[in-house]
């Protein structure tokens, strides 16, 4: 008992944190309810007389369950479509900001390259000074190392810049996929709404058939009376 209460409390807390999860749960539950009622309908009305009001009530109950599950599905799909739109916006932002970062790496590459060239010139000047003052050799060694670091920096920035092109292409593909998903969800939401009307028509026809069956049976009965 305690475990069941704990599970229910956990499920409720989860639904509060994620409204989409709550809508999804409702869609699954109402669909299962309708499925069970629809599959059992024939068995329920098989033993009833055509004019038994319980027969019409049974069809109407399944009809209501169908409307409820379609409403729940519609609410879920519409919420998911809205969430998909947020995902599209998020990926657009990532793409735009990733492009900015790529720009920064391209600038880093260009400036590191210029820095390396400037360092080579400074090394040449320091070497000239060393001809008169050998004690500068320690500084020269460090400056050569710094020049190597600048060259290394250029190579790494170049690598980052190259990755940026790949990332941008992948993100552009990803954005197109997210947009397709959003479009599919919006189409599905519209189709669920259209389907709701068709299911209502079907169940109306089903109730009309029951009424016709009753009329056929009731006619000769009345005639006998």
């Amino acid at each position: 008992m305690r475990v069941a209460l704990l599970l229910m409390a956990m499920a409720a807390a989860e639904a509060q944190q994620d409204p989409l999860a709550a809508l999804r749960q409702a869609a699954e539950k109402t669909a299962a309810d309708w499925d069970a009622l629809a599959k059992g309908l024939d068995q329920r009305i098989a033993r009833l007389l055509p004019c038994d009001p319980a027969g019409r009530a049974a069809v109407e109950e399944v009809s209501r369950a169908s409307a409820a599950r379609l409403a729940a599905l519609s609410a879920y799909v519409k919420a998911e479509a809205l969430a998909a739109r947020d995902d599209v916006d998020a990926v657009k932002r990532v793409l735009s900001e990733q492009a900015s970062l790529g720009g920064a790496w391209a600038a880093e590459r260009a400036e590191s390259d210029q820095d390396h060239t400037a360092l080579e010139a400074r090394i040449a000047e320091l070497k000239e000074s060393m001809r008169k003052r050998s004690a500068l050799s320690g500084a020269e060694q460090v400056l050569i190392e710094l020049s190597r670091m600048a060259k290394d920096r250029t190579a790494k920035a170049d690598e980052q810049s190259g990755r940026k092109d790949k990332v941008n292409a992948l993100l552009a593909d990803l954005l197109a996929d997210y947009q397709q998903r959003q479009a599919a969800l919006e189409a599905e939401a519209a189709q669920v709404d259209q389907e709701t009307a068709r299911w209502a028509s079907y169940y109306a026809a089903r109730v009309a058939r029951a009424a016709t069956e009753c009329a056929i049976i009731a006619g000769p009965k009345r005639r006998q009376e």
Binding site: V91, E97, A118, R131, V142, M149, A157, A172
Partner: protein
Amino acid sequence: MRRTLLLAAVMCLSEELFSEQPRDPVREAYRSWRETDPNLEREAAAGGAAIAQRADRMSAEAAKYAAARKAMLQSLAQDQAKQIARLENAAVPAEPAAASGEADSQFVISESAKVTRTINAFASDPDKGIQQLRAALEREREALTALAAGVSTRQKSVAALKAAANAIDTARSQALAEMRSMSEAAAAQVTDASQEAEAWAEYYRKIGEGARGDATPITVIPPGVPPALVNNPVPAPPTVTPLPLARYVGAWTFPTSNGLFHGAQPEFLDVVVFEENGQAKGTLLARFKLPPGSDGDPVLRFDFTGPFQASRNQIFNLTTTDGARGTIELIPGAAFNLLEVNFQTETKPGKVHQADVVLVKK
């Protein structure tokens, strides 16, 4: 095509904006550094105190540039991490079974078959009532046919949805892998920038060292002569600190003009640091400028002690002459003769309890 053009426009605009703004402080610091003394290397042969001072000035400018560059790289690494987190949060949930339309489709097929069987059974029955029932069944079948078309269309959307979700999953994993590599590389660049900053400080220190004494030209060594080796080399004294102890120990003072400080401004501030068996012992004596009308005590004196640690910055416990406790941090500066001192003590009424100053070696 329109989407491609739009993306290209967004990306070009972003690159333009980003490549200019955050780099400006770095470029400014670089320009300032290079313009401070563009002829240092060319004129270093002259030697003397003037060259050492010029090297110190360049060292300070190089440190500013390094700090600006490190901040820019850290910002890049943080931005990259932010984009990764954003993409990680855009995971696509699996579609619920209720959305598949499978149960609807089965229902429609099964009911259509039943209705059709009944219609066929009554096909040749001339009874008027049965014909009415047959007509009702025909209308039901029409409704089921319309439903079948609707369910089928919805199932196509659901299939497109699943295909898009699979494509998203693959592209998202690939993009995240590349972005994580970029993020790791950006973090490594921050470390490289720190190493470069230390190398620049070392370079200017060596220029200053090389400028001392008389000029001695490089002796021309004939080819094939091996370099001389010291037979009894003297090992450097062992130390736990990553930088030489000389960067911490000795007598340090606050410069009389243009001294750098945060918090209370010193009139004078002297620090002496000794080392013995890996332990630091030191004293700070200072007099601070207090706001006009203040009746606080401008003089502060404290002793500090503790073991040297295997870290660049050294932190020791201190006790003031009034018994207040606190800590002092010794931070080696960008140049070998600079030491940043940052201390905090317990708050005592009328006493200076915090300051951050850059000192020069006496």
